[in-house]
Amino acid sequence: MTAFLTAWWRMAVADCKVKLENRADFGLIIAGMFFTSAASGATLYLMLGQGGSIAGYSRYELLFMQGFMFLAYVFESSCCNAMYMLETWLKNGNFIRYYLRPVHPLQMLVLERFHPQGVVVAATGLSFCGFALANLPGVFDVAFVLQMALLLPLAAIVLNAINQMAIASSFFLGEYFPVFHTVGKLTDMSRYPFELFPRIARGAFMLLPLAGIVWWPCQVLLKGQPLLPVLGVMTLIAGGSVLLLMWLWRAGMRRYAGAGG
């Protein structure tokens, strides 16, 4: 593990230096994050209009849920950027090296690339959450911070596992876009209250690990549900998602045949 962490740290430092060398590019990335998050926040704000609530959630609770989603995405944004290259590597044979290196393929993927844009995503998420909490009196205290510190990493694991499973569809279909696009529609909706959807959709969201991204954590953070049962459920969801992801990669790697690299 020490060798892995040393290698990761060296790669992260080198990648940061390279990415920050071209400041115009990094500035454009910040602009991209700003405009996408501002558009999604403003849409929500305008949608709610004067009423200011939907399915029992206030405007600020919904903004907090959006911010929580951004924070859950930080790990993937900075550490798993290489996953979008999987399809290309499978096609051009570069993926062969994943069979040869002495680390787990998913760890190997994390070792491929680091992107400092994760810092921008984190800043965006914190801004959303901070603004929402400033308008939600009585929610923020020490217990809230502890609960968030416990639930956020689990939510990040669930989101990342779902997206990596979607990317792993390129083992079986040749391209990841169709499945990733479809899954993106679902994960995008998971930042809204599930109470909006009919019983069948709610059940499906609970069975699929989507509820573990925002809804379950926010039941504790915003709706005052006790932490321990939800933490148990979240641990189960996160563990199950990772196991499923590992199984899918194993099946994909068994199926893959390539040459070159």
């Binding site: 115009a24 996408t36 399915a55 479809t182």
Partner: protein, 260 residues
């Protein structure tokens, strides 16, 4: 005439490439229907306690958003990514040696992709409209189709100009994400412009933003009748074409390619 034939062949070839992957098309259509279904419940929840928001009832608002999202899925092309990739790989050098304007070449390819996507996504859209009990009722189909064509020109020119930034920047994610977010939000694809404050609405209709999605959707849903908005949209489409041409000439002066 030979230029038109070349455009047709390019459009046909790229349309075929877009429509080749049957499994992919099916998954995209299922994903699209799933997204629309969830959108239905989101807007239904929104209108549950207030049956008239921003002067629109549930059916009108949902028809607007669903149509705009469908248009976004169909007429938005990856011309920006393709051009940027060609610039980075140096492939653009061999494209420039061909007896065809770079913008026209990419435009023809984008048109082929749009036609192919329309072929497999419009039935899914019709299915959703039927399920949700909604319908499109344009007062004039020619005006609605002309507005759609102008919308394609606007979106393609914008994507082409953004793709040209590949001559100046190495990572285009930020600029393309900004463009998509601004075009969707201010164009009325995420939320009808009726939800915006009145001053913003006026401004967005005079500027090109409303004409990306809001104008064609308003014609398709019968909210617009006269040709005035179409004329403004067509003027913006012409301005965008001119700007894309000038931008293309300007950045080609900076072009230095090794290899390709």
């Amino acid at each position: 005439m030979s230029m038109l034939r070349a455009c047709y062949q390019l459009a046909l070839a790229n349309g075929r490439v877009t429509a080749t992957d049957r499994k992919g098309r099916l998954i995209i259509c299922v994903g699209y229907l799933l997204g629309m279904w969830l959108l239905y419940w989101l807007w239904r929840g929104l209108y549950l306690n207030d049956p008239s928001r921003a002067g629109l009832d549930f059916a009108t608002a949902l028809t607007h958003v669903a149509t705009a999202q469908t248009l976004f899925a169909i007429i938005t092309t990856p011309a920006d990514w393709r051009l940027a990739r060609e610039i980075r790989s140096g492939e653009v050098a061999s494209q420039l040696t061909q007896p065809m304007n770079l913008a026209l070449r990419h435009g023809a390819m984008a048109l082929g992709a749009v036609a192919a996507k329309a072929l497999y996504m419009l039935p899914a859209f019709a299915l959703f409209l039927w399920w949700a009990g909604l319908n499109l009722a344009p007062s004039s189909w020619p005006l609605a189709l002309a507005s759609l064509a102008c919308s394609f020109v606007l979106l393609f020119c914008l994507a082409f100009i953004v793709g040209l930034a590949g001559f100046l920047a190495t990572d285009l994610w930020g600029i393309i994400a900004s463009k998509d977010a601004v075009v969707q939000f201010l164009g009325g694809a995420l939320i009808p412009l009726a939800f915006f404050p009145p001053t913003a609405q006026t401004l967005l209709h005079v500027l090109p933003f409303a004409h990306f999605f809001n104008t064609p959707v308003a014609y398709l849903t019968g909210q617009l009748h006269g040709p005035e908005s179409l004329l403004i949209q067509a003027c913006w489409a012409l301005a965008f074409m001119l700007f894309a041409h000038l931008a293309s000439l300007q950045v080609q002066r900076k072009l230095v390619v090794f290899g390709a």
